[in-house]
Amino acid sequence: MSIEKMELVNVAGLLEDLDQTLLRCCDSGCFHMESALQDVGDGRGFTALHEENPYVPTLKRLYSLAGSLNFKLESADYSSLKENDLQLDEYVSNLEGEFRDLREKIRVGKQEISQREQALIQVKHLDGLNVDFQKIFALTHIGVRFGKLPADSFNKLEYYQNRPFVFVPYERGKEFFWGAYFVPNEEKQIVDSIFDSLYFERVRVPDFVRGTAEDAVKDLTDELAALNAELSESTAEMEKLLKERRSDLNKVFSKLKFLHDTFELRKEAVVMNGKFYLVGFIPLKSAKTFMGLFDDLPGVSVILSPPELDQRITPPTKLKNNIFSNPFAMFVEMYGLPAYNGFNPTMFVAITYTLLFGAMFGDLGQGLVIAAVGFVLYRLKKNAIGQIMLRIGVSSACFGLLYGSVFGYEHALTPLYQMIGFESKPLEVFAQTNTVLIGAIALGAILILISILINIFIGFKQKDYERAIFGNNGIAGFVFYLAILVGMVCQMVLGIPIFNAPYILIFCVIPALIMFFRVPLGRYFSNRHSEEEHEGIGTFIAENFFELFEYILSYVTNTVSFLRVGGFVLSHAGMMLVVMTLSEMVAEGMSPVVVIIGNIFVMCMEGMIVAIQSLRLEFYELFSRFYEGDGHAFRPVGVNYESDSLE
């Protein structure tokens, strides 16, 4: 429930040991690399390495080969591969050679099939023309043009009725007339230009077409069948070869990708006088193991230091969470990781999100179903969503016990309550609407107060006294907000007239004034002097007046926003009431069906809405009080087998 402690690592050594060093850094799985140029700065004699990655061409060829074979390259254990770089390149060339002939055979086959298919399409359109093609092609005084004429242009043919040609349409498509025009050879040029102006698209019937259209269709169909059979054979042969070579392909790919990605890391190093310099971070707990990796490289030295030592580099953040809160890290990452010296809010999110979801989606049966679905999802996909569903499902089930609701049946649990000494369920949602709404507001107020306390804690931890004491989320804001809440509860609920002059002065006016003067107060107590120009008094008053107004307004709006929790409690109960009413209206046999479908519908729709609303409350109402997601993630260097992007 905190942030992993890091160590700043400086690695230096002889340039000839750089590749081995990088290999070990990748193998370690715990080294987060930073750009060394950023650390040493420019113009001090250090230069970055700008080299062409020698593994790119071979890897590209391998990707191309795999792509042409529709084969997805996967990571594999390549420890048995003893080939060096050159031998790997040769191996890829041999593989290409083996597949080349087959691929060429398949390509030619596909091309011939495509040609025959195109010819078949054309010839099928000529079906109405019961003439031997060879005879048509043999005509000496008449020219024939097969093709298609746009339907609009067909209507214009009337204009040319006195011209020496005949257009014979034999098929109508959506936009075109398929047909042929016959023209005396001496008029061919003129008539061709007329048809060009009418956008006639000529179709050339291949010379291998023989006989009438009907004969040609039969011949082409037979040829296509034979070609397709040949193609299937070649494809099967290809697949057999691929199956035999699959394992080798993946091993070679894995090794090449590892070498490629490791080589890419050289760009992060800087060199000077034949020596390299790397910088990065490792988790503190992995420090000893990491140091041990370089024992057999006497030319390489590894120095560990506290992460804050180098102000130019910000340590990365790796969240440390327990089993319960770990899945909720997804939400924190969505908002933004905390800075290295910041606060890990994951546990806070886990508890509050679970609570809010459960409250808004309280139903024993539905909660258990969501938990079960989440469990199954987690087992199948191993993702965080399944784990979150499991937790919030259980929470919903617990709240369902409070509301006495089981799949919308509001009185199914009454015997249980009576057994433990209650007359009926603890909370009758529709009968105690005010309790629900006021409870929601109270929950919201408590969560806001907790958020402010967290902010105060962070402020003191970071020695930011303006934040911790004088800000709207500091002690001043806490006192102000709490005083208003207590005052309202006493005044309106308990009937205690607490809002008297001393109370208002001490707990409202003074904190408000402190918030108003938070910036100068903060500077005074931290001995900081701003380098900014001092603004005029008028500007200061105007700015801070509106800011104070905004703070006070935000207390109100953030608190009232939690009314939605009560709203969703009521809407959930309302929706189930509708389902139950509908189930009573249909025939008795259909009633269970309506209940089941209604429950599924509510679980899906309302579940999604409540999930989103809970997240909204987290991010907007709570996080805004204390959290700044300005950290960057800890990403240990390694090989990315999924990405096919090559430099």
Partner: protein, 351 residues
């Protein structure tokens, strides 16, 4: 009143159609294509022209055929909107056919003037109009004399408008004048149809739109005459459409009395339309006047389309907006065909 309420669904349909219009990103993509086939392919894959081009092989499509298809699509859109709620039963909604008939008559007369017997007019005759025109377009295409043309138009109002036209000493008819005569008649017919077919409020809105159209066309025509012929006000007036109101006439006369094109621009900049055009990024200059005026008309129409609750205004606007889109496409297609620089094409697109 009831009829007008019943036709409101057309507004929704028009707005749904408008949602599918080409956007700036589409135009940019199109302008960066290197051939007509690529333009056709983009239109087929990514725009509402998908269905139009579904039966067409974009690899072999001819530029002229593509342009014809785009224009035909415009006609089909008009038909679709008319048929949706049987608006064609209301006289006003036939304005589109009237407008296209005028264009074809002028094109046929230009063909007569060319006189060398080529097939120019049949090449450009829109075949999709054959079944909609109130006269025989094929017969019009075959005419070889003005008298024959008048005979084809015998049973139409166009005959009376043209029967007194005389050729000049070279036997050529003044197409510009004939166009103005026909378009003026068209505008008068529109005004009349608006007053007869619609209530006061809707008619007023339509009249404003038509007035804008007339004023802006007149501004362009007068400027052209000023630039090409350096003509005075009397000559310029011959190239203008009938004014909508006295105020329009006085303002137009004020523009036409300019000594030269620069003064014309200066006076226009200070006019009602000019002040709006001056707010555009490129402002209003001699070089961009026509494009800027078209852009103004486009944007005024767009604004009106978005806010109107009148079926007729919505109908009139959407068809104009799409006609601009069609012209943009045709400009781009021709620009790509003749390898015009992209920067030039960008200046031609009206958006």
């Amino acid at each position: 009143m009831m009829d007008q309420l019943i036709t409101k669904a057309t507004i929704t349909k028009a707005r749904a159609m408008y949602g599918k219009r080409l956007k700036l990103e589409d135009y940019r993509e199109l302008m960066h294509r290197s051939s007509v086939a690529e333009v056709a392919d983009y239109l087929k894959r990514n725009t509402h022209y998908k269905e139009l081009l579904s039966g067409v092989d974009t690899n072999t499509i001819h530029r002229g055929f593509l342009e014809d298809l785009i224009k035909r699509h415009g006609m089909e859109r008009y038909q679709k909107l008319c048929n949706f709620q049987h608006l064609d039963k209301i006289a006003f909604y036939n304005y589109e056919i009237y407008q296209r008939e005028v264009e074809e008559i002028v094109a046929a007369i230009m063909h007569l003037n060319s006189g060398d017997g080529d097939n120019y007019y049949i090449d450009v005759l829109p075949a999709y109009l054959l079944s909609h025109a109130s006269f025989d377009l094929m017969a019009l295409a075959k005419t070889t004399t003005f008298k024959a043309l008048l005979n084809v138009l015998a049973k139409t109002p166009y005959r009376k408008l043209l029967e007194h036209e005389q050729p000049d000493e070279n036997g050529k008819y003044n197409c510009a004048k004939i166009e103005i005569v026909l378009r003026s008649a068209y505008i008068e017919w529109m005004k009349d149809a608006v007053d007869k077919c619609f209530g006061k409020k809707e008619a007023a809105e339509l009249h404003v739109m038509i007035k804008e159209q007339v004023d802006l066309i007149n501004a362009i025509n007068s400027f052209r005459i000023k630039v090409l012929a350096d003509a005075g006000a009397e000559v310029s007036e011959l190239g203008t459409l009938p004014y909508y109101e006295g105020k329009s006439r006085r303002k137009q006369e004020y523009l036409m009395e300019s000594k030269d094109p620069s003064e014309y621009i200066n006076r226009l900049q200070h006019s009602f339309y000019g002040r709006q055009m001056m707010q555009f990024e490129e402002g209003l200059t001699k070089d961009n006047l026509e494009h800027t005026v078209l852009t103004l008309r486009f944007r005024l129409t767009k604004r009106r389309f978005r806010t109107t609750v009148s079926t007729a205004v919505s109908f009139y606007s959407i068809l104009y907006l799409f006609s601009v889109e069609e012209q943009n496409l045709i400009n781009i297609i021709e620009g790509i065909r003749y390898q015009v620089p992209i920067s030039y094409l960008e200046r031609m697109v009206v958006l």
